[in-house]
């Protein structure tokens, strides 16, 4: 396989991204949950809700960002086959998002 050293670097970068992203997402959700349990004012509830939603959104976006990182690396290494695959995955996700917006109630 071409570029074994770059491969190693990419793997470590993805590992760090996914781990730190999960920590941040879970921390936002955790703080939001603690706020719900401790604050019983309307403003507190709204802040808690916003934090939890931000955490959930971050978790959902995390694997998509991971595909974006892979796309940039494959493009730089001129690995056309894998860059095309990564671009296709992002395109499919964009279509899914559009379908979701279109059918929103």
């Amino acid at each position: 396989m071409s570029g074994a050293i770059d491969e190693r670097g990419l793997e470590n970068r993805l590992a760090r991204l996914l781990w730190l992203g999960t920590l941040c997402g879970c921390a936002l959700i955790g703080v939001g949950l603690l706020l719900t349990l401790s604050l019983h004012t309307p403003i507190g509830a709204r802040a808690a809700y916003a934090l939890m939603n931000a955490g959930i959104l971050l978790l959902i976006l995390l694997p998509i960002v991971r595909v974006g990182v892979m796309l940039t690396v494959f493009l730089r290494e001129r690995e056309r086959r894998f860059a095309t695959a990564a671009a296709a995955v992002l395109l499919i996700i964009a279509i899914s998002l559009a379908v979701g917006l279109w059918t929103r109630t």
């Binding site: 949950l33 719900t36 995390l62 995955v89 379908v99 979701g100 929103r104």
Partner: protein, 282 residues
């Protein structure tokens, strides 16, 4: 929202992920049945919450596999075109599918998971054909037990892509990681070594679930009061479960899981026909 419900959701997610992690299996398949049968939640909210927890568990457990070079990221990105396309199909279909059908399909998947769990995983025999060599998907991984790099070849890519498409479809419809289809796709069609198969499929689950979760999030099906405690609980449970993986004798635990899977399957199928044992007469 009630505090009791949030604590209950958190504990249920943590408990099932803990047990799942100890067996090295994804516990996404338990979340929806427990939330709907015992929590009496709407199945669509349960599916949304389960998807977020599936993504979170995939991302949380990816790092060690990547560091050990067990994840084949090139193969993953190629197969992800099929899983995300399946997920998109699910997003398009889910509005037209009745709740009863979702319960029935879920029951079937649980039954198949129980059968799969009874059988030991076996990878297809490695033969050297070089047929897919031009795709540059083959790889190698370090195996401390055998002392050195183990090279492997990827086989039957079209069959693997087909099964992965179905896995993505099931993931979007039911909010699961679809291990029930990914195991045969990875072990039998592509003939990957089991360690590579587990690592790569875990890596793919996140983006597969995210492909449908973006649509459900903007549709408002994924709601914070349900998804947040479930996601946090399952990540904590899965991380803890992975740490005690080898300390518990697993034969009895496996059998217990098979029984639970079968019981949940029967109850989900009963629900599909409007009969509920946990809810009393409806």
């Amino acid at each position: 929202m009630s505090l009791g419900l949030e604590l209950w959701l958190f504990s249920v997610a943590a408990g099932t992920s803990l047990l799942g992690g100890m067996l090295g299996m994804a516990s996404g398949v338990f979340i929806v049945p427990v939330l709907t049968l015992f929590g009496h939640l709407d199945i669509r909210s349960a599916i949304g919450a389960s998807l977020v927890s599936v993504i979170a568990c995939s991302c949380a457990s990816a790092a060690p596999f990547l560091h050990q070079r067990l994840t084949n990221i090139r193969l993953a990105i190629v197969l992800e075109t099929a899983t995300t396309l399946g997920a998109l199909t699910g997003v398009l279909l889910v509005g037209a599918i009745s709740t009863a059908f979702l319960f029935g399909l879920f029951g079937l998947v649980l039954l198949l998971s129980a059968v799969q769990m009874l059988r030991a995983r076996r990878q297809g025999p490695q033969i050297v054909s070089g047929r897919w060599a031009a795709w540059q998907l083959d790889g190698s991984y370090p195996d401390p037990e055998r002392g050195g790099e183990v090279a492997y070849e990827v086989h039957r890519v079209p069959a693997g892509l087909g099964l992965m498409y179905l896995a993505g479809l099931l993931s979007a419809l039911l909010g699961i990681g679809s291990g029930v289809l990914k195991v045969p796709a990875m072990d039998t069609a592509l003939r990957l070594p089991i360690k590579v198969s587990s690592a790569t499929s875990n890596f793919m689950i996140g983006v597969t679930a995210a492909a449908s979760a973006v649509a459900y999030f903007v549709r408002g099906i994924i709601t914070a009061p349900i998804a947040a405690p479930v996601a946090l609980g399952s990540v904590l449970g899965a991380l803890l479960g992975a740490r005690i993986l080898l300390r518990v004798p697993s034969a009895r635990l496996r059998l217990m899981f098979v029984v639970v899977l079968a019981a949940l399957a029967i109850e989900m199928i009963f629900n599909a026909f409007g009969v509920s044992l946990t809810r009393g007469p409806s």
